[in-house]
């Protein structure tokens, strides 16, 4: 199978879906003439023209709402929000409008909309450009929220999202764009929304993660294998719907769990996962579920502070060792 980057997987999928369905169109700031702030839409304006690849003014609330309205009439807009931080000015349209319209109007109209946006942040992007808000969206009934960790899943989930008739928040990660992985050619596969995947089998501890943190978890699992620690990695892939059965099945096997996410600790994604595990696998747990997440500060700019405030492989290893304490070999 060809090995391509996460960026390429997204770019390919967007191109293929534009070619497949004339109602699909891309919309967002700097996606056309500028070729995409992170080059996800590179070349697509040239290939599909300005009707299908639409550069917008800086007016997120306006064009997200516009995309919702257009979707109600049968278009299938795929909107890029440059980074998730900027969706705050448009969040009313996502949460009070897109997520409610199908249900609130008794199912008479659909909103086949995808909003793609990178979350998190590894560089020194400072307080307003480094946040994760996927937990906010995952909280909202009516939305679907996915967050692929590999090029394969990126492609399969983006296809699924574009072909899905509900509003889907498609969460990406700047730090994953250049990562590589196998993606089959000439295979119109989709990855189902709402289904997690055991990305690596293990017996000692379950690590639950998504997006970039799954990549971290896979590295850590590999590293700990050398020490004789067998880590199972459950990649959520979807935050809403949340695939609780897959998580629980894994924890019932390993009896120990660590949850890792890049967002802030309190009220973040890890809270929901830990709360779910203790509820549904209480009798199987040999140690409390530990959560690894970002430090609770507006991300400081200074290089070392910035790096230290996001969870690292070290943070995960520390947590794994903690939950394994007292376990007899």
């Amino acid at each position: 199978m060809p090995v391509i980057t996460y960026r390429q997987a997204l770019n390919d999928t967007l191109g293929e879906e534009l070619a497949r369905d004339p109602n699909v169109l891309l919309m967002g700031e700097e996606i056309g003439v500028f070729q995409g702030s992170y080059r996800i839409t590179e070349g697509l304006l040239q290939e599909f023209g300005p009707k299908r690849v639409v550069d917008t003014p800086i007016a997120e609330e306006g064009f997200v709402g516009l995309a919702v309205g257009a979707a109600m009439l049968g278009l299938r807009p795929v909107v890029e929000i440059m980074t998730i931080n900027f969706i705050l000015v448009a969040i009313d349209q996502v949460v009070n409008h897109a997520s409610k319209i199908h249900y609130m109007f008794g199912g008479q109209v659909r909103v086949p909309l995808v909003i793609r946006t990178p979350s998190g942040g590894t560089g020194q992007l400072a307080a307003t450009h480094s946040q994760s808000f996927e937990n906010w969206f995952a909280y909202c009934p009516g939305l679907k929220v996915v967050a692929p960790s590999t090029p394969y899943d990126a492609k399969g989930l983006l296809r699924a999202a574009i072909r899905d008739d509900d509003p889907v928040m498609f969460i990406e990660s700047l730090a994953l764009y250049d990562t590589k992985g196998e993606v089959p050619e000439d295979d119109d596969y989709t990855v189902p929304i709402g289904v997690a995947e055991v990305k690596r089998q293990g017996t000692d501890v379950t690590v639950v993660s998504y997006s970039r943190m799954t990549a971290v978890a896979m590295q850590v699992a590999q590293r700990l294998e050398g020490e004789g620690i067998s880590v199972e990695v459950v990649d959520l892939r979807s935050l809403r719907p949340l695939d609780r059965p897959t998580i629980i099945a894994s924890v019932k096997k390993t009896n120990r769990a660590v949850v890792i996410a890049e967002d802030w600790y309190s009220y973040g994604v890890t809270a929901e996962i830990a709360a779910t595990i203790q509820d549904e696998a209480f009798d199987y747990l040999d140690a409390p579920v530990r959560r690894v997440a970002g430090l609770e500060v507006p991300l400081p700019y200074a290089k070392e502070l910035s790096a230290a405030s996001k969870p690292s492989a070290n943070s995960l290893i520390y947590a794994i060792r903690k939950v394994l304490e007292g376990k007899k070999k």
Binding site: A59, G65, L66, A67, M72, L73, Q108, R244
Partner: protein, 355 residues
Amino acid sequence: MAKVEDTQRSALERENPDDLRHYYYQMLLLRRFEERTSEMYVKAKIGGYCHLNLGEEATIVGLMAALTPDDYIFTNYREHGYIIARGVPPGPVMAELFGKETGVSGGRGGSMHLFDAKTHFMGGYAIVGGQVPLAVGAAYALKYQGKPGVVVAQMGDGTTNIGAFYESLNLAKLWNLPVLFFIVNNGYGMGTSVEMGSSEPDLWKKGASFRIHGERIDGTDVLAVRDACRRLRARAEQEGEPAILDVVSFRFRGHSVIDADRYRDPEFVRSGREKHDPVRNFAALLHDHDIVDDDWLKAMTDRVEKEVQEAIDFANASPDPRFEDMYVNMYATPVPNIPGPEDAIREVKINRGEL
């Protein structure tokens, strides 16, 4: 605002009398529907927030008279009259206010969230300004798909102060979209007068920063509203020129059914209802011109009374949504790990102490 009589007298000659009578019938139907709605609210048949169109009948009927079946309408929460004037029978509308399964939104929306796909009535929305970008998006879809028609973005005067309105104006003009910004200027957003809310109280001028044409029109004159809408509608459809229509009317009551309207001088309200009653004024006009007579007017009153009563009876007789349908229409495309009817039943039972 020109007097209703002045602007209409000459125009009346050219009108089809049946149309005129139909407008009157529609306005009267809205009037009576809203009066009875208010009663039903007091009887607790209707819950939540409930906003009436009393005083805005000519605005609504005039607009609808100008639209074609191709057109789409997005409104705010004060929309009972719009969906009825667009052609949806009063029964399912009242049923929605009652929260019944037979309601236009299956009882899930209520007074603020009426919807009817068939007539392109694309919903009432309750976040101020939220419907405006949606309407612009619908216009975008029409243009994209090369379809005829225009989209109406209805809103109130107070709504013209929120960011979404301005972003929408820019996008509509930038991309030449067939959309009509239809501002129902009843002088108030709740208790806030237009002058307290807008540095430019001539709302029709609010397109000036966007190169969008605007006009002010007397919203109590059904023919004036219709004609302006027809004209701007045609321009929007044919030239992709969006426009603002500032339609001035008088809000007969408080902001919502439960608002005691204490911030308006009672004398101002009394004389406003006296002078600016679009239904009574239109009846007088038609009567003066011998287009209708007393008997006809009486017959209309009876007919409307009966239709609204039937709507209430229909709503009363309709079933409530079933608990097991709690999660129905949660998603249009089903996916794994979402709750179903059994979950709904169990959860409701727990909630009601039955488990």
